[in-house]
């Protein structure tokens, strides 16, 4: 395990990350507010405000996502998201075993953070799934909901908007689960807040 300071998070990654976090959290809260809207609700954001905020943050997170893709294409950050399929299953099993048992027995992480490998195999797979599958689906379905007149009126004898909305809501839920796990896993570092600090300073300790 390295004890050196590593500069792993360049400024653009940190900016993208925090903007993404702000927009995603706003989308999550406003999305839940719309889905469970009620004339008498007092603790959620009003439907009208939720619609406005959701639309604005949806557009902004799409632009931010484009910056992430462009950044990953034109900088070295993209290499951290490349998955070697050979031996992946074994690497994932090792990492899961570490999270479930090894870390309680004070074992060293099987895939320590290095300049060449920012993420462990489990992080890599989940980040790739979230950023390259989940995000495109939720963004495309979100834009379709923003321009509902472009969605086919009927799909399989049912409203085309329903399919779009279901995709949007289901992937919204999956990404929310990802967010919670992501936040929890970030507390595995010692001290607990060091990963959060890293995303502010750029330096990994």
């Amino acid at each position: 395990m390295t004890t050196e300071k590593l500069y792993l998070y360049p400024l653009w990654v940190r900016l993208w990350h925090w903007l993404n976090a702000i927009f995603f959290l706003t989308l999550l809260v406003t999305g839940i507010s719309m889905q469970y809207s009620s004339p008498n609700s007092s603790f959620l954001i009003s439907f009208e405000k939720s619609v406005q905020l959701h639309n604005i943050c949806g557009i902004l997170i799409s632009i931010n996502y484009l910056l992430f893709i462009i950044g990953n294409i034109f900088t070295t950050n993209g290499k951290f998201y490349k998955i070697q399929l050979k031996g992946l299953f074994n690497r994932l099993t090792k990492q899961i075993q570490f999270y479930l048992f090894g870390m309680f027995q004070h074992q060293n992480p099987p895939f320590p953070v290095s300049e060449k490998s920012k993420f462990n195999p489990l992080q890599k797979v989940s980040y790739v799934a979230a950023m390259y599958i989940g995000f495109p689906i939720i963004i495309i379905s979100g834009w379709a909901m923003l321009f509902p007149e472009l969605v086919p009126a009927v799909v399989l004898n049912t409203s085309g908007l329903l399919f779009t909305a279901l995709f949007h809501v289901i992937f919204g839920f999956i990404l929310s689960v990802f967010l919670i796990i992501h936040l929890y896993v970030c507390t595995f570092a010692s001290p607990i807040v060091s990963n959060f600090k890293s995303m502010i300073t750029g330096w990994h300790y």
Binding site: Q35, Y36, F47, F104
Partner: protein, 317 residues
Amino acid sequence: MIRPKIKHLIQFISFFFLLTVFPIPKVNADSVPDQNYSCLKCHGHHTYKYQNSDLGIEIKEAMCTKRVIDTLAFIQSNHGKFKCTDCHDPEYNTFPHPGNLRMELMYVCTDCHGGDPEYAKFHFEDIEAAFYESMHYQRAPDAFTCWSCHNPHSYKTHARFGADISKTVLYDNNICLSCHAHVSKYELLTERDSINILKTHSWLPNQELHFRNVRCIECHTQPNDSLLISHVVMPRANAVRNCTSCHSKDSRLMASLYKYQSLESRKERGFLNAVILNNSYVIGANRNQYLNKLSLILFGLLLLGIAIHTLFRIFKH
């Protein structure tokens, strides 16, 4: 190049196929009372001809637009099997029509349907009472009758027979727009001269989508438990502007646009307000009960897993 004979054969087969797949709608000629032909001969067209016996010539005249009857719409309407003289004075059978007939009083719905057990399910008396409460009647009691909105020569019941909701929306909204989008007809009923539905509804997000999928009366009438379609048209100030009236579990649409379907088919396919799904999707009103429960269970398991993991981290530290 296809030889002309083969080309004609293909055209014939295509035409035959089209006729089979999309048959020309039939109009049952037997359903039209014979006496109506003599009326519709003139009133079914924009022009009519008559023989001027004094001059000995045939005269062609333009028919007053208000007196033109859309024959096909009439035959297909609820009243399509009636003789013209069932509602109009038999003296109309003579031509030129006597001038005093212009003053004839028109029947309203309850004149025929009121107190009739066969039509009890339509609640015509309740409709009439609701109509008297409506701002239409309140503002112009002499000008408004049932026929101001429901053309007796084309009126067709839609919602009650489970027709395609989008067709019901189009049909019903066209009733409102026949005045609210036509200055000449609008001016007959009010002194206000400007109508701009798009401008007055500019606050409405996704305006086109709303206009295509919900009826004006969803927001502009007071829902009534005993009536399928409320007839208490409210003043502009009382119109619904609160999004959650429709975009919520207890969507107002279930008591109006989807009332008939919701009465017929309750909560199917695990969706709350499932009936809305057949035609549209209303954010906040459509909630899949199974997905809701599944998401709660998954979320609970996630938190439980994190809690157990945290406890191990604390105790094994």
